[in-house]
């Protein structure tokens, strides 16, 4: 119940739908029980009792009541649905808003698949329970209560004799439920792993074909395919075992009813019509009980779903704006790191340790070092995606947490190694950071990123819609669009995180030209593996295990007999050899 109480703010504003739904549910259930009674009166009073004048009244009354029931059913169901979908609309917006603001740290540990299943399956389970679960429980109680009362009214002994199978039915339902749910989970799991197999196979099809492992893959697929079939058949075995049994128990009640009830009619203890009515009422009790397991399961599932949703809603947003944060429209670009230490997890070793440096406005800072040396951490601290455990980071003399997040991040442009583009037009992708940008600005940004030519050559030009992850464009083209996106916001500080690594040499040349244009007058951080990308930086920081191992400009570092020089020699060995062979 705790879960539902915490989620109250999403559904309780719509309680009016819920109340209407329940009110009409009561009407519907009450009328349901009327049908057997009408049948009984027709047989006993009108036909056997010879009072044929009752017939028109009964017929019209019956039709009238059924029309009321129809209307009531409609209202009950529709308002129930409205209750669910209104709540879900609200819930989804809150979840989405939350997701927008959760920190990088949260996403480092989250898996897209898991988040997606919460946002889809769990939201759906929650809606289903709001729309049907609650009211189904109420309906169950009402139906059983009313049916029992009517049956008791007709004959107590007959009720007891007929419903003697009920405890057995309850046991069977209980056992069935206990077995069938794990089995269903088995099907879902098996389907999930089959899905993963196929997805991996298709995504890795080039690798499969290059090693001609098709037959091996087909065999692996078939194992999963067979497992899915087996799991499914295992579940249908459970159905085959219990479902006919439930039906048989229900039917046994019918047999008891006929035998004992028939006898009671013969000794004139009950009327024939009452016997017929009993037959209908019997099923009003049997069916809900057979379904009871389903409803209870629905409840526990939606409770679990609610918990998973709360986990997202209650996750901590680590990066929060200070009250009275300053808003600035542009930075000068003076960046200072003052004894900064960063640990990603509490027990992790420091990704950045006691790091200090200053970047003057308009200067280029190069960062080099092997994977995991802390290059990217520096840029993520600067953009405040993570906060330092110790030390201060300042821009233009102010600690960065004093700025509003909008003005901090809005003035820093980032181009990453693998550029993420959205399923949208090229135009919208370039103006992603400044949706209000005019077409001229967009074209200008594209021109400066050396992207205008190839974009104009596309049939739809700037209106070309990019598919999943920018399918249809080459790596270099995507990268240039990402650069245009960064240019479009006109940032004061630029971060190029290995921006040219995933493209071939010719494209790299194009992109470098574009970047040189963009870097003018902005404080720029370049992360790179190639000396060639860094040699004109004003200061190069060589990082090793989160510390600065060497610093200086290219000229100084080449003679420093350190890591930088070693890398330089490895990369330029080719060139020297080449030039020697060329001149000889």
């Amino acid at each position: 119940m705790e879960t539902f109480r915490k989620l109250k703010k999403f559904y309780w504003p719509f309680k009016v739908y819920f109340i209407w739904s329940i009110m009409f549910l009561v009407v519907v259930t009450a009328i349901t029980v009327v049908y057997p009674i009408v049948l009984q009166i027709t047989i006993d009073e009108a036909v056997l009792g010879g009072r044929y004048e009752l017939i028109p009244l009964l017929t019209i009354g019956f039709v009238g009541i059924m029309i009321i029931k129809g209307a009531a059913t409609y209202i009950y169901q529709y308002t129930g649905d409205l209750f669910g979908i209104h709540s879900v609309y609200q819930l989804r917006n809150s979840l989405y808003a939350k997701l927008q603001y959760l920190s990088f740290k949260y996403y480092d540990n989250a898996k897209t698949g898991d988040l997606m299943s919460r946002l889809t399956a769990d939201v759906e389970a929650f809606r289903f329970f709001l729309s049907f679960g609650f009211s189904e429980l109420i309906r169950f109680c009402l139906l059983i209560l009313i049916s029992f009362s009517v049956m008791f009214y007709y004959s107590i002994t007959l009720t007891i004799v007929t419903l003697i199978t009920l405890p057995f039915l309850a046991v069977v339902v209980f056992k069935f439920d206990k077995e069938v749910h794990p089995a269903f989970r088995g099907i879902r799991k098996s389907f999930g792993s089959l899905n993963t197999k196929v997805q991996e196979n298709i995504s890795g099809i080039n690798t499969v074909k290059s090693l001609s492992r098709e037959d091996f893959e087909i065999k692996k697929f078939n194992d999963s395919n067979r497992d899915y079939k087996d799991k499914y058949l295992f579940t249908s075995e459970i159905w085959a075992k219990y479902f006919p049994l439930m039906e048989l128990l229900g039917n046994l009640s019918v047999v008891l009813l006929l035998g004992y009830g028939g006898y009671l009619v013969m000794v004139e203890e009950i009327l024939p019509g009452e016997l017929v009515a009993f037959y209908s009422l019997l099923w009003y009790i049997m069916w809900p009980i057979m379904n009871l397991g389903f409803v209870i399961n629905q409840y526990s599932q939606s409770k679990a779903s609610g918990e998973r949703l709360l986990e997202i809603l209650e996750a901590e947003e680590e990066i929060v704006e200070k009250d009275g944060a300053v808003h600035v429209s542009a930075f000068e670009g003076n960046v200072e790191f003052d004894n900064v230490t960063l640990r990603y997890g509490v027990d992790d070793k420091a990704a950045i340790y006691n790091l200090s440096f200053t970047a003057k406005p308009g200067k280029i800072i190069g960062l080099i070092g092997s994977t995991g040396s802390g290059k990217t951490s520096i840029t993520q601290l600067l953009t405040r995606f993570y906060e330092p455990n110790e030390g201060e980071i300042r821009i233009d003399g102010q600690e960065i947490s004093n700025y509003s997040i909008q003005s901090l991040r809005g003035n820093i442009g980032i181009v990453l190694q693998e550029s993420f583009l959205f399923s949208s037009s090229i135009k919208a992708n370039i103006s992603y950071g400044r949706p209000e940008a005019e077409m001229d600005d967009i074209i200008d940004a594209a021109k400066r990123a050396q992207a205008h030519d190839f974009i104009s050559a596309l049939p739809d030009g700037y209106d070309t819609i990019l598919g999943e992850r920018g399918m249809g464009l080459s790596g270099g083209q995507k990268q240039r669009i990402a650069i245009a996106r960064a240019i479009c916001v006109n940032p004061s500080i630029l971060i190029l995180d290995d921006a040219t690594s995933a493209v071939d040499m010719e494209t790299e040349f194009e992109i470098q030209k574009a970047l040189n244009e963009v870097m003018k007058g902005k404080t720029t951080f370049i992360i790179a593996h190639r000396i060639s990308s860094l040699q004109y930086a004003d200061e190069i920081l060589v990082l090793e295990d989160g510390r600065i191992a060497e610093r200086g400009n290219h000229k100084q570092l080449v003679q420093n007999a350190g890591l930088y020089q070693r890398i330089y020699e490895l990369q330029y060995k080719d060139r020297d050899k080449l030039q020697r062979s060329y001149t000889s």
């Binding site: 159905w239 919208a428 040349f509 490895l570």
Partner: protein, 604 residues
């Protein structure tokens, strides 16, 4: 201005939602679909049908036994022994139906699942052998959807649909015959509700289903956006577009909400209408039926009618459902057959030669090739690669480097000319025996989820653990693997994100080494790797190339320079060939290319 702003928000993202969910009925396709049942026509099909028939018979008999016999002849006549006999008979029938039900559920599910299993297996096997072009033209997601979802949507049709169709028709006909024999005039009177029921079951249901489809489409759009916004959240936060995205999401969410509201509204009409129709039937029964009691029908017949009336809806409802399943099945099966009709571009001749233990001598003899029939990708290529040689292909994107490699592994056949391995035309050779001799090391190697061990073993599934380890050692991958938490047994996620680009390269080298091919094709990675790793890769490459014929699509000068022979390609022609020194002295295109690379480095 506000309108402009609104447009901007709504057009922020585009998700294609043009998936057709249903198609008109098509006999030819239907027959093709049902050909998957044929293997079971002598086993599961007749067995299921027999069980269904037994079940249907019992269900048809019970109401007469209760109404006409028990009520009229036993109870009204006060015949106790008759009552006992009837009760026993009914109990026995229920028992029969109990057993029939067990087998019905078992066999029908077996039938359905076997058909689905076969169909999926067929589709996957077929797709697996399709060409690269097939995969290049489609997103992975769209292929996945056909193998998984489209096939699953046929599941219900094959498990229950087809056989229920039979059962329901028999049931309806049975009820009709029985009722007619009990009282023709009352039967005719009650039949007025049948057209209404059919209308609700087919037409109204179709409308309802369509509106649910709209809901699903909107939902799909919403999900696509959610998925993308999670994956792109770092970009969004970098550009502080959280609020703008929330505005967009609210729009999508509202669309979904509206469609849902509309569907619920239509859906909520369904049950009341069905019940009202039933009530109409009951009203006819009460009014007209009770007037017939005494002159034509007995009280028992009256009761039997009441029972049968309650039984009408179920089969009609199910028929409507099957009809709808069929329409949806048409759309799914059309998409499935579209894939199945896709021909592998390279087809095998009969009586092919098995290639065993090739030397690795490769020859191109006047090879012409075009992907689209318009632009020549390769134009009269003549070349020879001696066994054990390493050759490099150099040229701009689209010059034909990759095409040459694809023809050697016979992913395509040349339009003209011949490709020969050890003097044998590849067209005469069995594809699998050829590919067993060739390994390709891709620049974007795929890491499957599983252990590192399994990933390396992918090169040769029969390799022992020891062989895997020594392959890893030989290419210098052992160092980083042994530093992982569980070394070779470390689980890597899909796409291998705990491994760096360089480490993935080394794994793919180990794979290739394990496969031990005579011919090796190497599509060199362009992604820059930190320099220390690059040195390791160069070393590993030497180990890998030893004693094999190697074709390299190279980007790095250091790799190219080591080649025994370099081919420079332009627009599908070989314009220069020779060793590095020869080509440098020749001062042609290669010379310019090399020079421009260094000039470029200087320009930055």
């Amino acid at each position: 201005m506000t309108k402009h702003k609104h447009d901007n928000t709504a057009n922020r993202f585009h998700y294609s939602t043009d998936l057709v969910i249903e198609k008109p009925f098509n006999w030819k396709q239907m027959l093709r679909l049902f050909s998957y049942i044929l293997p079971y026509k002598k086993s599961l099909v007749p067995l299921s049908i027999i069980m269904v028939l037994i079940n249907t018979a019992v269900r048809l008999m019970i109401p007469i036994l209760i109404g006409v016999y028990t009520l009229d002849q036993a109870i009204v006549e006060r015949d106790t022994s008759m009552l006992i006999k009837l009760v026993i008979l009914i109990a026995a029938l229920y028992a029969v139906s109990y057993f029939a039900n067990i087998f019905r559920i078992r066999w029908m599910n077996e039938l359905g699942q076997n058909v689905i299993y076969d169909l999926r297996k067929h589709l996957f096997t077929h797709v697996q052998n399709l060409s690269h072009r097939f995969f290049d033209q489609r997103s992975a997601g769209s292929i996945l959807v056909r193998i998984m979802n489209d096939i699953n949507s046929l599941q219900e049709l094959f498990t229950n649909g087809v056989i229920n169709l039979l059962m329901d028709m028999i049931l309806l006909a049975g009820i009709f015959v029985i009722l007619f024999s009990l009282s023709p005039e009352l039967t005719l009177a009650i039949m007025v509700i049948l057209p209404v029921m059919f209308f609700i079951s087919t037409s109204l249901r179709k409308k309802i289903r369509r509106s649910w489809q709209t809901v699903r489409l909107k939902q799909a759009k919403l999900n696509s956006h959610l998925n993308e916004s999670i994956q792109g959240v770092r970009v969004t936060q970098s550009y502080t577009q959280e609020k703008e995205n929330m505005l967009y999401f609210d729009g999508v969410n509202k669309e979904s909400f509206e469609s849902w509201k509309e569907a619920s509204q239509k859906n909520a009409m369904f049950r009341p209408l069905v019940e009202l129709t039933n009530a109409l039937g009951t009203a006819v029964l009460i009014w007209y039926g009770s007037s017939l009691i005494g002159n034509g029908i007995s009280i028992g017949v009256f009761v039997s009618f009441a029972f049968y009336l309650g039984m009408f809806w179920e089969p009609i409802s199910r028929l409507g459902m099957v009809y709808n399943q069929l329409l949806m099945g048409m759309a799914s099966s059309e998409r499935i057959f579209e894939f199945l009709d896709e021909k592998p571009i390279v087809s095998e001749r009969e009586n092919t030669i098995e290639l065993k233990e090739v030397e690795g001598h490769i020859e191109f003899d006047k090879v012409m090739f075009s992907y689209d029939g318009k632009r020549m990708a390769l134009n009269e290529i003549n070349l020879e690669i001696m066994s054990g040689q390493t050759v490099a292909f150099v040229g701009h994107t689209g010059s034909g480097k990759t095409t040459i490699a694809s023809l050697v592994s016979r992913f395509y056949d040349p339009d003209n000319g011949r490709v020969l391995v050890d003097g044998k035309d590849l067209k005469d050779v069995s594809i699998s025996s050829l590919r067993n001799q060739i390994s390709i090391v891709l620049q974007d190697t795929f890491i499957f989820s599983g252990t590192i061990m399994d990933n390396i073993r992918f090169g040769r599934p029969s390799a022992t653990d020891e062989e895997v380890k020594s392959a890893a050692k030989a290419v210098g991958a052992a160092d980083f693997i042994e530093e992982l938490p569980k070394d070779y047994l470390t689980e890597v996620e899909e796409r291998g994100n705990i491994l760096s680009v360089g480490e993935r390269q080394l794994i793919s080298f180990a794979r290739a080494l394990l496969a031990d091919p005579q011919i090796l094709i190497l599509d060199e990675a362009t992604a820059s790797i930190d320099t220390e790793t690059e040195v390791k890769i160069q070393k590993a490459l030497k180990t890998l190339l030893k004693g094999r014929t190697a074709i390299m699509i190279a980007h790095r000068l250091s790799t190219i320079r080591e080649a025994d022979n370099i081919f420079v390609l332009e627009n599908g022609r070989i314009i220069e060939k020779g060793t590095h020194d020869e080509l440098m002295n020749y001062e042609g295109e290669y010379h310019d290319l090399v020079k421009s690379q260094f000039n470029m480095l200087d320009a930055i």
